[in-house]
Every structure is written in C-alpha cells, then in structure tokens.
Amino acid sequence: MNSKHRIVSIMLRGGVLAFAWALSAGSPAAAADAAPPPPAAAVAATQLEAAPAAAAPAGDQAPAEFKTLDQEVQGMKKDVIDLNKDLFVLQEELLFPANTQVAVYVSMDVGAFFALDSVTLKIDNKEVKNYLYTAREAEALLKGGVQELYLGNLKVGKHELVAFFTGKGPVERDYKRGATITFDKGVGAKYLELKITDRVTKHQPEFKIKDWE
C-alpha cells in the first residue's frame, strides 16, 4: 500500500471513529443523561408504583448497559491507538523515505569495562548527533535494550560514519574511543549498529560498527 492509500485509509478511519463517537454521544443512555430531571414528586410516585415489578430487571439491566458502553469505549481507545500508530509510521515514511533512509542504533553487551556517558555521531565529517546518556538509559542498554540513536536521509553512494564514545573505562578512568565505517548507501534503507562489547582477554571495551545488509 502506497502513502496516498494510507492517508486515505487513515482519513476514512478517523471519519468512522468520529461518527461512532457522535453516535455514542447521541445514544439513549447519553440522551437520558442530558434530559432535564423530572419533578421530584412525579419521580417518587412513579418509583412507588413501579418498584415491586421493575426493581429486579432494572438492577440487572444497568450493569449490562455500562458493560456495553465500557466495551465500546475500550474499542474506540484501541482504534485511536492503532490510528496513532499508523500516523507515526506514515510520518516516518514521508520524512525518511526508504530509498534515502539511514538509521543508526546503539547496543551494549556486558559493560564491565566501560560505563557509557555519551556518543557523538558524524556522517561525512558533519556532526549529526550528540547524545548524553543518563544512568537509567545506560542501564537499559546493559539489560539488552537497543536504542535508535539517529534517523536521517542520505544520498545514494559512499559515505563515512564516525562514532565517538566517551565514558569511564577500566579503573574508572575517563575513556574516549572512536570507530569508523565507510559504507555504500544503495537504493534501500541502511541500518547501522554501534556495538559496545567487552574484550575480556585485554580487559578493555571494544567498539564496532555493524552494517546490517
């Protein structure tokens, strides 16, 4: 499905949602809520007459109505979330079309010899990202999280990516290392991963850039 179709589909779904919302607002339950209250005496009289016969069925009906309404609301919430997701995907596709897209991810393994503080990313000698990591974010990476550090557009051809990692190395020393990769950007999207691992034999961290073909 191309972008135009997506936009039309999203607009249609939005319209259906709005319609459903309007319907639920105009439902008998909502209308009853909006209707002016009857005089207190009349209500009391009606209640007295109807109480013996109607008390039991009304008691059962009300929770059922609430349940249906609740289900409808939950369904609508899910639709809104789906719609939001589609809009996000569409936005990404429009801003970063697949033929020019470059995404750079960061992952960390073990981390006994390196505590990550920041990463600076340069593409073709131009700084595109400088990211400071909080303790929580570094911990999330150590637990196996993968972070999307950069998403941008590049022309087809050869490019150079340089990543500088700063943090605390072995024995709590300030540590700064770089890693470079030259890659060919083809017609499709390009995915690169900055990998921080431990080299146990040398008691040093290791920084690699993996080109996901």
Binding site: D117, S118, L132, Y133, T134, A135, R136, E137
Partner: protein, 167 residues
C-alpha cells in the same frame, strides 16, 4: 471620571499586572521541553526522568546579581520539600562552565547544578530575563514561569510548590 471608566481602568491595570507577573505565558500549560545536561557531579540528568515529581527548574547565571540571592533561597526550599517529592534543578547558562562551577561550589548548594554552556535549553525555554524559575507539575507540564527575582519571591514559589505537591 465615570464609574464605567473606573472599572475599565481597574480591569486594564489588573490585566497588565497579570501579564507582567506571568512573564513568558507561551510556555505555561505546555509540556516542558525535555533536556539532558551534565551535572556538576558528572551525572547526566534528563528532565523527563523526573515525571511524577514536581520539578523546579532555575536558570541562573553568575553575572545575574539576583541569582546570588535566589540560589540560597532555593537551597532552603529544596531542603524542606525534597522529601515531599520536589526536585530542584539549577541550570547555569554561563558560557564558561569552569567559572560557573566555582561559583556554585562556593554557594554549597544541595541540589544538582547543570550546565547549559551552549544556551540551547535556555532558547527552548524562551528565557527573557535572568534568573528564571519554572515549575513543572507531576505530569511534565509547565505551570508557572517566574522571571527575575526580588526579595519575597521565594514565598510565591512556596505557594506554587505547595499547590503542585498537593495535586
């Protein structure tokens, strides 16, 4: 002067006074721009990680005379309300981080001091006057913007903080 004129004059002056008090109204009611900055003790702190707590962000500079009065007042507020869920962050907008660090060291402040040497964050917060104190509620929305500082303003901060802590 007729009564209508008087009422109009009063309303206008009240409006103007309100506008002066709530400087930078464009930020109030909007989500606080997120930032991550290096603190004096070397940690990187991100504003959005304090979601769920009331955050007081104070932009200060060595050259702003009022900051010298305001920072100790904020330190006292931090000592009292820290346990109740208040986070105080001091953001120095000095270009010279080393001198700003010396200045903050001398003040012996008990809350984190961050350095925005490039003034990027200051731009996001549309700083017009220094110092500037911003109060962010538990859901990350800017609720109060206080530009400048004069004696007694710390009482206003206390009222604002108490209100946000109660929510």
């Amino acid at each position: 002067m007729s009564r209508i004129h008087r009422v109009c004059g009063f309303a206008l002056s009240a409006l103007l006074a309100g506008a002066a008090l709530s400087a930078n109204p464009t930020l109030v009611g909007k989500p606080a721009p997120d930032f991550v900055l290096k603190s004096m003790d070397g940690r990187n702190l991100r504003l959005s990680e304090f979601r769920g707590q009331v955050v007081l962000v104070n932009f200060w500079a060595r050259w702003a005379g009022d900051s010298r009065q305001e920072l100790p007042a904020l330190d006292r507020i931090n000592t009292t309300y820290n346990r109740a869920g208040l986070v105080v962050l001091g953001v120095s907008v000095d270009e010279d981080a080393r001198r700003a660090r010396e200045f903050a060291d001398a003040m012996k402040l008990g809350f984190p001091i961050l350095f925005d040497t490039m003034s990027d964050i200051g731009r996001d917060y549309l700083i017009e006057k220094m110092p500037m104190t911003i109060l962010v509620d538990r859901s990350g929305v800017v609720r109060y913007v206080n530009a400048g500082f004069k004696r007694g303003d710390d009482r206003t901060y206390l009222d604002q903080i108490r209100e946000l802590l109660r929510e």
